[in-house]
């Protein structure tokens, strides 16, 4: 039986009268490349924030690598890496200073931190910008640095909130290869993205959240099997997604109203 990397039970987060995440039960096995999807405002970022300790849940339970997050936050955080929404960078540090800072925060010794910093900057093609402040990086460069910071301590679970947004095709290819190698080594990757083609290509398992509730979860094949359609037709993730969140066909009717544009 596979080890469970992430398990949530009745995970809920309320903001006043609004329930952003509503009784979510997630199961992610170790070593899975897991895509977490949902329309805008569905509760993806709120869920990721709770799973990474940036937001306290209103109720429910989270277990990462068998550890209860609320009871062992430090032990859990030691084993996870995060690229959060907003990236969490200190803009007045240079790239190498930031990686050094993060390495030390995760308890790496100075020599290891220096070595990994140099290697990661080289891999992310940021080594020639060693003295440039992060504030002066382009958005894509900041994204690559945030990803480098998330993996510097060799996490067992990696949370990525829109990791490829603003990253050029060359760098994105290298990052995908890196993430693929990490999953082969047993690292669990929990990813959100609006680009469904990327999720379809990378992820073996997917969960879909809609209006705060988890509406689907499983492997791509399992999700395809649950969608009615022509026998033998292989549905794309986009079709699955639209079918599950109940938007399929709706856009056609709305488009017909825009006669002046279409």
């Amino acid at each position: 039986m596979n080890e469970i990397a992430i398990r949530t039970e009745q995970l809920t987060r309320r903001f006043g009268a609004l329930t952003a995440v509503d009784c979510v039960d997630l199961r992610v096995n170790a070593g899975q490349f897991f895509g977490f999807l949902g329309p805008n405002g569905a509760g993806k970022s709120t869920t990721i924030k709770m799973l990474t300790g940036l937001l306290a849940p209103s109720s429910g339970r989270m277990e990462l690598l068998g550890l209860d997050f609320q009871r062992n936050p430090i032990d859990v955080k030691r084993q996870i890496g995060v690229v959060p929404e907003g990236m969490g960078l200190f803009e007045r540090l240079t790239g190498s200073e930031y990686l050094h800072f993060v390495g030390r925060m995760y308890g790496l010794d100075g020599v290891t931190t220096e070595k990994r910093t140099a290697e990661l900057l080289e891999f992310m093609q940021l080594a020639d910008r060693e003295k440039t402040l992060i504030a002066d990086y382009s958005h894509g460069m900041q994204k690559k640095l945030a990803l480098a910071a998330a993996v510097i301590h060799g996490p067992r679970i990696l949370f990525l909130d829109e990791p490829f947004e603003g990253v050029d095709a060359l760098a994105a290819g290298a990052l995908k290869a890196l993430l693929g190698r990490m999953t082969e080594r047993g690292v669990t990757i929990f990813l959100t993205s609006h680009v469904l083609e990327i999720v379809e290509r990378l992820c073996s398992h997917v969960a879909i959240i809609h209006q705060g509730r988890l509406v689907a979860q499983g492997s791509l094949e399992e999700l395809r099997a649950g969608i009615p359609g022509t026998e033998g037709e292989k549905k794309t993730l986009e079709q699955i997604f639209l079918s599950i969140v109940g938007q399929s066909g709706g856009e056609q009717a709305r488009l017909e109203e825009l006669t002046w544009l279409t």
Partner: protein, 550 residues
């Protein structure tokens, strides 16, 4: 082909933008915090209106006095005051921050002419311009009442003066926008501004020492050259009209027209550059940079007993301090202020000579003042973290490590600053004797350790975002300011009582012993507070992240 058949006229565009501004204001009030801000805005607006109305009376009386006493050329003084106000206030209000709001309009299909007129419209919509117009109007009323025959010239000259001012203000604003778009330039200018403000303190001592009152001040020689500037030209135009000197009148009005032509032409060129897509972005191009030798990590010089997170935070704080022009320059302040105070109030070289403060009083007073300045950032110690605050909560560390790292770094800075300031004090006013010297140091240690606990609580409970290289709105939250004020008064009061007790009992060593005891107690309180503060940080993390990542 787009469906745009006819472009809206300039008046329609102005109306649309006025509507946009109104909707932005109206919608911003839907947030609770902004509604509280509205009360502040209303109070500030009431105060400003009182000031403007009061000065309207003053300008009216001044203009009436000059015109009825046949001193029309003295009107220049009033116009100069308005000129300086109109040009300086917008710069100070902008607070060295780039403001791209007006440029954003360029994404709409505006003509260059409409863009130019909109720019001038924005120029009339700020407080400095509105108040200046009120004062000029009050001067016109004074002219109508006092010397009605000068009213046509007053109206013409004032109109030209207003147009010169608004175009010049927009021109300066446009150039500042271009300069401040560059982060380094912005930070450098903020630093220079702070330095110039500090330098003002030395004007009086310098004049006292080197000023030569036997001859005319050199600045008087500049006065004739001011006659070609707008403020003087308006006064001279009125004087020429009053003397029925048509040649001088033509010359001065011509001078104002030349000014208007020059400022309008230059402003047109600036707006044209913006209209054609001037690049103000400071993001570096993705070209390969030169790779230098790797520097030794600063943490390698930090003591080995520090845990990696504490050392990491200290190193990060060091980098942030050296890259924050404003904070870095405030480090120059303590020794400079010691120099200034000693020149003014104490020592053999003070201006008040034998009435100067004794070293026994001056020594602890100056130290207390320096601690007040240096400890103030601790009450909002997360101010500059921005999105980086998330790193603290994502990393496997307790907030106690972060707080200890930040506090240790601050203590190092304070110790360094106090050591230099003590050196300057001893040089300027002499050594106060061992008992007072040691009791001052012990009191400083008590004041620092005593404040850190409360400062940490304040930083976690009342965070306020600040940005490096900006001046506008860069202050701690009101509660943090009052907390700091209260704590400093309390600690200052305790220190004063202890020092007075030493005198009362005739024991110069008593304060040293008491302050050492108080420091030990404060240190114990500090250590005991770290775990509860970590718990508090966990409770406040959403507030911290929301406030600082905004």
């Amino acid at each position: 082909m787009a469906d745009v058949i006819q472009m809206p006229g300039v008046a329609e565009q102005l109306k649309l933008i006025a509507g946009l501004r109104w909707n932005l204001l109206k919608n911003s009030l839907q947030r609770k915090n902004n509604r509280w801000d509205l009360i502040g805005i209303i109070l500030a607006a009431g105060g400003s209106a009182m000031m403007v109305l009061g000065l309207c009376v003053a300008f009216y009386m001044g203009a009436y006095f000059f015109l009825t006493r046949n001193r029309a050329s003295w009107m220049s003084l009033l116009f100069w005051a308005i000129f300086l106000w109109w040009q300086a206030v917008p710069i100070l209000v902008a607070g060295f921050g780039a403001n791209f709001e007006f440029r954003n309009l360029l994404r709409f299909p505006l003509s260059l002419r409409a863009f130019y007129i909109l720019g001038l419209g924005y120029g009339f919509a700020d407080f400095a311009a509105a108040s200046s117009l009120c004062w000029i109007a009050s001067m016109m009323v004074a002219t109508a009442v006092g010397r009605v025959q000068l009213l046509p010239v007053m109206m013409l000259a004032s109109l030209l003066f207003i147009l010169v001012n608004v175009t010049l203000e927009r021109l300066i604003g446009s150039w500042l926008e271009k300069i401040f778009a560059n982060r380094r330039a912005r930070e450098l200018l903020v630093g220079l501004f702070v330095l110039s403000m500090v330098s003002m303190n030395f004007l009086n001592p310098a004049l006292q020492r080197w000023g030569d009152y036997g001859t005319r001040p050199k600045i008087v020689h500049l006065v004739p050259y001011l006659s070609w500037l707008p403020g003087t030209l308006v006064g001279n135009a009125l004087a020429a009209a009053s003397d029925a000197n048509s040649q001088a009148l033509l010359l001065t009005v011509g001078g104002l027209l030349v000014w208007l032509g020059a400022t309008s032409g230059l402003l047109w060129l600036r707006y044209r550059a913006q209209y054609l897509g001037e690049e103000l972005s400071e993001t570096a191009a993705p070209s390969a940079g030169k790779r230098g030798p790797r520097r030794q990590a600063a943490s390698s010089v930090l003591p080995g007993f520090l845990s990696p997170p504490v050392a990491g935070v200290m190193r990060k704080e060091f980098h942030y301090l050296t890259r924050n022009g404003f904070s870095f320059i405030t480090l120059i302040l303590p020794p400079v202020m010691v120099m200034f105070f000693s020149m003014q109030f104490a020592g053999s070289n003070s201006q008040i000579k034998e009435h100067g403060l004794s070293p026994q009083a001056f020594f602890p007073a100056v130290m207390a003042y320096l601690i007040l300045i240096l400890l103030s950032p601790a009450y909002n110690s997360f101010a500059f973290e921005g999105h980086g605050i998330q790193s603290y909560f994502m990393a496997p560390v307790c907030m106690r490590d972060i707080l200890v790292g930040k506090n240790l770094f601050l203590v190092c800075v304070v110790t360094f600053e106090l050591a230099i300031s003590l050196g300057v004090l001893i040089w300027r006013i002499g050594f106060p004797g061992f008992p007072l010297f040691l009791s001052t140091i012990a009191a400083a240690a008590f004041a620092v350790t005593g404040q850190l606990t409360i400062a940490n609580w304040s930083a976690l409970s009342f965070p306020k975002k600040m940005e490096i290289g900006k001046m506008k709105g860069q202050r701690n939250s009101g509660v943090a300011v009052w907390t700091a004020f209260g704590v400093q008064i309390l600690i200052g009061g305790i220190a004063t009582i202890v020092l007075l007790a030493g005198r009362w009992f005739g024991s110069s060593w008593l304060p040293v012993v008491v302050f050492v005891g108080l420091t030990a107690a404060a240190l114990g309180g500090y250590v005991a507070s770290l775990d509860p503060l970590s718990t508090l940080a966990e409770r406040k993390k959403e507030l911290l992240i929301e406030t600082l990542c905004r």
